[in-house]
């Protein structure tokens, strides 16, 4: 019986079949990886139950092949060693697979970390009022999932299930008319020859009730009956009062109001004329010339020519410094002075479009250089804004709107270097009510369901190192005269209060740090916006099967060497020894 078992499992036929089967599976796996990425192939092939089973069968076959020749003869030493080596190697692999850790740890310069990031993910829901928390730790894998892979039930019969997983998720927002919508939304289209954009504005969301488009601000607001009157008031662009010009003669002081766009003025009751009036809201003297720095009335000044019967003279008056003589270091022909009294600057030149809502009717108020235009808005009709020949249209108006975010899985070009994170959906349900909430990897969010607040989490699992590691600095060397990285290294400080350790170490490519069974390897780094490296990513390894694997490998190679090349020499030496013994 035992012999039969050994002969069945130790048969060469089975061995060759298994060898070729493994070769075949591996071949398929590499092409699979080329198409779907490393994570996918690990998940679907290398780390599956059946692949493990295949390896176990191979181990069994190897063991039986060796055992069926027992008792071994001397020339079979190589053969036995080789097969034993393979067995130990496979055993070591299983130990590593079951107990090993392959995680990462990333930190910025100066940061200290006490935990590493595992590939497992945690889904958690907390009912904020009662602090009741449920969580599940699992590996989601590389494929989109649409089954309930984590579910939690609260005592009040609220059920929360995690029922969607997209390894690379993109989202689009969509606005829909909905009974449960809390506020109104409009979609505004702005269009001219060059521009054509549509924006959604939400009435009850402060951040999304207005938007800036080029120079113009577009806003959406609630109106009351009293507001409406002002809202709809139109004004033509008129000359606005800038201030007052005072002509102070030895006899009398004359006052003339001065409006924008006025170039010359007659001083009433005199023969004086004010010509070439220039207004500087924010005046400065640069290179002996009066210039304007900004449109805001910070340092208002006037420059003008006083024209009278004796001739023309130039006056400059600063509103903030009326004590200065207005004729610059000269005596006035008329022994007169000009004083400028500012009215406080011009009204804002801001271009704006306001959409107001009263009950279910929309009104607009557009402010442009042509003045203020107002009116009632009909959905779908275009109106002039007065700036840049833009026309605006309210394309949609939902008195009750809901903002819906749609997530969808996407296929990234390079699965080994995805630029899009994964996302999951939590579904809350109680009685007949249901609500969905999406979370991206690494996020925590608050959601309200049936008036209760819940906190949902989708994060990597963190495990404690039992000590701390601080990144002093990540450094990158380059090849002479190029930007090509030549070396990466992390200067770290290892802190272990338990053992009173505080040492600095240098982790570089091929030079890892070993401590308490963990090994830290330089794996990657991250940069700031200017491209300067600011942090380091280490991979954290813990491999209890290492010694088995090394031992098995050595035995195997030694065995092959004996079997193929020193078999005869071994036999000869043995015979010699035996003869000598006789």
């Amino acid at each position: 019986m035992r012999k039969k078992f050994l002969h069945t499992f130790g048969s060469l036929k089975l061995a060759i079949f298994l060898i070729l089967a493994l070769a075949g599976v591996c071949t398929y796996a590499t092409f699979f990886e080329s198409a779907y990425g490393t994570q996918a192939v690990q998940h679907s092939i290398y780390k599956t139950f059946w692949f493990g089973l295949l390896l176990i069968f191979i181990a069994l076959s190897v063991a039986c092949a060796a055992l069926k020749k027992y008792p071994w003869k001397h020339h079979q030493v190589g053969f036995v060693l080789t097969h034993l080596g393979i067995l130990i190697l496979i055993a070591g692999s299983f130990v590593s697979f079951m107990k090993g850790i392959d995680a990462t740890l990333s930190f910025q310069n100066g940061e200290t970390k006490t935990h590493y990031i595992c590939s497992d993910e945690i889904f958690a829901v907390t009912h904020v009022q009662t602090s009741a928390t449920f969580s599940k730790t699992m590996e989601t894998g590389p494929y989109p999932r649409e089954d309930s892979f984590a579910s939690f039930s609260f005592p009040d019969q609220t059920n929360v299930v995690v029922d969607r997983f997209y390894p690379h998720a993109a989202y689009e927002t969509e606005t829909i008319a909905h009974e449960q919508g809390s506020g109104s939304a409009i979609s505004v289209r702005l269009q001219n020859q060059f521009v054509n954009t549509t924006e959604w504005l939400y009435f009850d969301m402060p951040t999304q009730a207005q938007t800036q488009l080029g120079p113009a601000q577009i806003s959406f607001k609630q109106l009351s009956e009293t507001d409406l009157k002002y809202f709809l008031q139109k004004t033509k662009k008129t000359q606005s009062l800038i201030g007052e010009i005072k002509l102070i003669t030895p006899q009398k002081t004359y006052s003339v109001p001065f409006h924008s766009m006025e170039k010359s003025l007659q001083v009433p009751g005199t023969s004086f004329q004010l010509k070439n009036i220039q207004y500087f809201p924010d005046a400065a003297v640069i290179n002996n010339k009066l210039v304007n720095r900004s449109p805001e009335a910070k340092n208002p000044a006037l420059k003008l020519e006083l024209f009278g019967n004796k001739g023309t003279e130039t006056h400059v008056s600063f509103a903030l410094f009326p004590q200065f003589p207005s004729t610059h270091q000269q005596n006035s022909l008329y022994d007169s002075k000009i004083e400028f009294v500012s009215a406080g600057g011009l009204p804002s030149e801001q271009k704006s479009l306001q959409i107001g809502k009263l009950n279910d009717t929309l009104y607009y108020r557009v402010n442009s250089s042509k003045g203020i235009q107002t009116g009632k808005v009909e959905v779908g009709k275009s109106y002039e804004t007065g700036w840049m020949e833009l026309k605006f249209t309210i394309e949609k108006f939902y008195p009750k709107a809901l903002q819906k975010i749609n997530y969808r899985p996407i296929r990234v070009k390079d699965p080994n270097n995805p630029k899009v994170p994964s996302a999951v959906r939590f579904t809350f349900s109680k009685n007949a009510k249901q609500m969905h909430a999406w979370l991206y990897y690494g996020e925590v969010n608050s959601v309200f369901f049936e008036k209760d607040e819940y906190r949902i989490t989708y994060q990597p699992k963190m495990e404690s190192l039992g000590f701390a590691l601080q990144l002093e600095k990540f450094e990158m060397g380059v090849d002479p005269g190029t930007d090509n990285p030549a070396s990466y290294q992390s200067r770290v400080i290892l802190k272990d209060t338990l053992r009173n350790v505080n040492q600095s170490h240098l982790i570089s490519m091929n030079e890892p740090l070993d401590y308490k069974g963990f090994t830290f390897y330089q794996s990657s780094f991250f940069k700031d916006e200017s491209g300067q490296p600011i942090g380091s990513v280490l991979s954290v390894g813990y491999d209890p099967g290492r010694n088995l694997k090394y031992g098995g490998s050595i035995l195997m190679v030694l065995g092959i060497l004996l079997m193929f090349f020193f078999r005869q020499a071994y036999i000869d030496a043995y015979r010699k020894l035996k003869n000598r013994g006789k």
């Binding site: 060759i16 060898i19 092409f31 290492r546 092959i560």
Partner: protein, 554 residues
């Protein structure tokens, strides 16, 4: 008989030695070859720089009878003279079509390519793709190359690429090119003393003098100005080691000597001479035997010399590129062949090995776009690591053993066609089997050493990375062959056929993973091109085995 041997050897040696000294030019460029230039992350002689540039632009090592260095100086000294010369090589038919160029034409002028506008959107895509480290399509490779070619010639015309003025203090800082003499702020900040500034001014004058004397074809003043130029460069404050005469002259010798080209020529010669043994007898037979063996030894020596030079110049083991692995595999294949030849005294082993090595070196010598022969700095992960070197050399040595086994097995198949006696066939199968044994040992050891290195560098012994997996697959295929032979299921014919087919697994591990699959951690060795050659080879092998089976029904 020995006399012939020695005469032949001396003849061969003399051709080796004198073939390097070419005909003298009117203007002399020899002394400029050793001018150190910093480019591509290392300091190299101007000679190498010129060869690489000319190779990239024209697709050849010399052009219209002008040596690379001559051409480089011509582009620099008189840029406008080259606008209408057909020298820019374009291979991609699609690219020619897009540019409205004639598809039969191979070389184009700068003036013809003045308008690369239609390619600009493509160039943007290529830029994005390279940023994301994505693979380029052959057409995009072509566009990329064309942009490089045109910009190389133009930038040399401006003096921009000629970074020959060393940074005085730091070896890793970029050197200065002639365009910095304008002068650039960076140059002035580094050379802030009056003495150096005066020297830099002098350099400017000399450059003009050089260009003028070149254009006027005035050999005497050209020699004078260029010698002075070199002198001034070495008089500037400098980093230690400048002008690196020892290593740079080695590299110039390596460039001029073409050790690998000489090696394959002699391998071919050896293979031909030794093959003729079968047809000859008596004295002639002996003569062929000696000369053939001598040729194979000469080839091997040249091969070793080239390899030694390459390692000395780059200061590292040849573990970085496909080119280096091909050269190494052909070398080790010869070592195994000499060993088996010594053991079994069978000339056929040597012939098969010479043919295989010659094929390897011919490929390495003639496919610069696929097997890039230039010396480049290694990817960070590959630097200064003992285990890595051992791991790669062991694995690639196993490829050599398997390649030898493949050659010997093919020879067995030929013997089937020639209906040689069964006993003789059996001996040859034994040779191949021994080569496979060497290969299995090395591949198993090398793969495990790879695990040791990966464990040491990345913290995992085995990660099911494609390159690892394909090494395993190749090993499994040969294990299947060995077990099948042991079980007695593979007769001599099927044994040989299986050995040939298992080599396709090696080919996939060696070439396919890097050039076809293009994924995984071994990405530093990735490349493109040559698939059609490999597939043709695979097809020929399959057809050959089928043919032999059909013909001789073993």
């Amino acid at each position: 008989m020995k006399k012939y041997f020695w005469i032949f050897l001396i003849l061969l040696l003399s051709t080796l030695l004198f073939s390097t000294s070419g005909h003298t030019q009117h203007l002399s460029f020899e002394h400029l070859k050793s001018l150190p230039i910093q480019q591509g992350g290392r300091v190299k002689p101007l000679d190498t720089f010129a060869r690489e540039i000319v190779q990239t632009v024209t697709g050849k090592s010399s052009f219209q009878g002008q040596s690379a260095i001559q051409l480089l100086l011509a582009w620099f000294a008189n840029p406008s003279a080259w606008d209408n010369i057909e020298m820019i090589e374009i291979r991609s038919l699609e690219l020619k079509k897009k540019l409205g160029l004639h598809h039969d034409q191979k070389y184009f002028t700068l003036a013809q390519l003045g308008h690369l506008k239609p390619l600009e959107p493509d160039f943007q895509t290529i830029h994005n793709k390279t940023q994301n480290e994505e693979k380029l399509t052959p057409y995009e490779e072509g566009v990329n190359r064309l942009f490089t070619q045109v910009s190389l010639v133009q930038r040399i015309g401006y003096g921009e690429l000629l970074a020959v003025i060393p940074h005085p203090t730091h070896p890793d800082e970029p050197w200065f090119s002639f365009i910095d003499l304008e002068p650039s702020a960076r140059l002035l900040s580094v050379y802030n003393d009056t003495e150096s500034r005066a020297k830099l001014e002098e350099l400017k004058v000399l450059l003009q003098g050089m260009a003028q004397s070149y254009t006027a074809n005035d050999a005497a003043s050209f020699y004078l100005t260029t010698t002075k130029l070199k002198q001034i460069l070495s008089e500037l404050p400098k980093i230690s080691g400048y002008p690196f005469s020892k290593t740079l002259s080695l590299e110039i010798f390596y460039n001029a000597f073409h050790p690998f080209r000489k090696a394959w020529i002699f391998y071919v010669l050896a293979a031909v001479l030794l093959s003729l043994l079968a047809l000859t007898a008596g004295k002639l037979h002996t003569a062929f035997l000696y000369t053939g063996t001598a040729a194979s030894i000469l080839a091997f020596l040249s091969h070793v010399l080239g390899f030694y030079l390459r390692c000395t110049i780059s200061g590292r083991a040849p573990v970085g590129t496909m080119y280096e692995s091909v050269v190494w595999v052909s070398l080790v294949l010869m070592v195994f062949a000499f060993f088996l030849f010594y053991k079994h005294q069978s000339i056929g082993i040597l012939i098969a090995a010479c043919i295989m090595s010659a094929i390897g070196l011919v490929l390495a010598d003639n496919l610069p776009l696929i097997l890039d022969p230039s010396l480049r700095p290694l990817a960070p992960v590959l630097r200064s690591n003992f285990w890595l070197t051992i791991h790669v050399l062991t694995i690639t040595s196993s490829y050599a053993a398997f390649a030898l086994a493949m050659a010997l097995s093919n020879w067995v198949l030929v013997k089937y066609l020639l209906r040689h006696p069964k006993t003789e066939i059996r001996t040859w199968v034994q040779y191949a089997y021994q080569a496979i044994q060497i290969g299995v040992l090395l591949l198993a050891a090398g793969t495990i050493l790879g695990g040791v290195w990966a464990d040491y560098s990345w913290g995992r012994f085995w990660g099911w990375d494609p390159k690892e997996v394909w090494a395993l697959i190749a090993l499994l295929l040969y294990l299947a062959v060995i077990h099948g032979r042991y079980a007695g299921w593979l007769n001599d014919f099927w044994m040989s056929a299986a050995s040939v087919m298992a080599f396709q697994g090696v080919l996939m591990a060696w070439y396919g993973v890097n050039f076809v699959l293009g994924v995984g951690l071994h990405s530093y060795g990735f490349g493109a091109g040559g698939l059609i050659y490999v597939l043709t080879y695979v097809l020929i092998q399959v057809l050959f085995i089928a043919g032999v089976w059909f013909k001789s029904k073993p």
